[in-house]
């Protein structure tokens, strides 16, 4: 089965509909998913931005909120404009990375996105992250502790550096046939193909199914 990697950031508004849609879309396409949390902050800082470009450029920001409202209505996914943007997704990203091989990971990820973009909850708050973990049937204290380990902190930093190396500059991004970090995985048939934005989800899935 071909794999599409979804590189996402919990603070990223357009990552929300992509995360909400990808499980169903990938199943329909017969493609597997690998969830790759990373941090946009360090990437934005390298571009000279100390804030989200949607805050730095007001016309772009106003448009984004309206566009997202229209998109979510069309996808029939719940939507409520968050009262704080961007929220700090660091803790949730560490949990997602610590749990990358767990079967409940997709439920946790979509739960955090819904907390931020449909329930207007503060996802940097360990209590909020804990409730999403418990909603996924997990012991929250255990996973919050793992998320705080030096190993996971370093791994998330490395994953963000890997994103930069793949040419990623925004979220969500999709990578097809890229270098994998899974030990023993077969080499990709071609170099990694990068797709940027929720709008490119279907194209990324189609690319994964190309026969050439």
């Amino acid at each position: 089965m071909q794999i599409v990697e979804i590189w996402f950031e919990f603070a990223s508004s357009y990552s929300y509909p992509a995360a909400a849609r990808i499980e169903f879309a990938a199943r329909d396409a017969g493609v597997g998913i690998r969830w790759r949390p990373f941090l946009l902050g360090p990437i934005f800082v390298e571009q000279g931005w100390g804030d989200s470009p949607f805050n730095i450029y007001p016309a772009k920001g106003r448009y984004m909120w309206r566009d997202l409202e229209r998109l979510c209505a069309g996808y029939e996914i719940p939507w409520k404009r968050p009262s704080v943007f961007p929220r700090n997704g660091l803790l949730a990203a560490r949990v997602a990375l610590a749990a990358e091989h767990e079967s409940w990971l997709p439920g946790f990820i979509t739960g955090i996105f819904r907390a931020n973009f449909a329930k207007d909850l503060e996802i940097s708050d360990p209590a909020v992250v804990g409730r999403v973990l418990e909603g996924a049937g997990q012991e929250s204290a255990e996973w919050l502790e793992r998320a705080g380990s030096t190993q996971i902190k370093n791994a998330l930093h490395q994953q963000t550096q890997q994103a930069v190396g793949l040419g990623i500059f925004g979220a969500p991004s999709f990578v097809v046939g890229g270098p994998t970090t899974e030990p023993g995985a077969p080499a990709p048939k071609r170099g990694g193909e990068l797709f940027w934005g929720n709008d490119r989800l279907d194209q990324a899935l189609s690319w994964a199914n190309r026969q050439d």
Copy 2:
């Protein structure tokens, strides 16, 4: 018939596939088009950019060229990465505005875009613009002279200011039901709805056909 305005800039890479597709897509949707040339330069300068963001942010630029190549292959429209980017579209925009009520306008516009993004020609060169005019069956000297008039220069400046007023920050943009400048035109049923990017063409056309 509902109208979708396409706000475009001849220097804008994603305006090319949108301009190439819109006549057919709008006909299929039963929607009319109004072509609105404007200049991105003054808008970018207000955002603090002295160049295209695709040049200022190299990762974004590299991605754009690859994305556009893939998109044009999918649309089956000719594509050749221009050796100069962005090219100055001022003269061609003035001609397009001078000719806004002419039946050959769409052929001129798509001809200029093909010159820039499929033939790698210098569209700021009056000889290149003249050849596209002649390809559209026009007397090039006559239209180049009209394009240079104070009236047209001012009108293009005003059109760019109108773009800013509509919340436009990039190209192509589509406006549905916006304030029209046509004398005697009926008032729009609702406030203008803005869609940004070639990716939003179909959504803009659907929006024009909404019955509410």
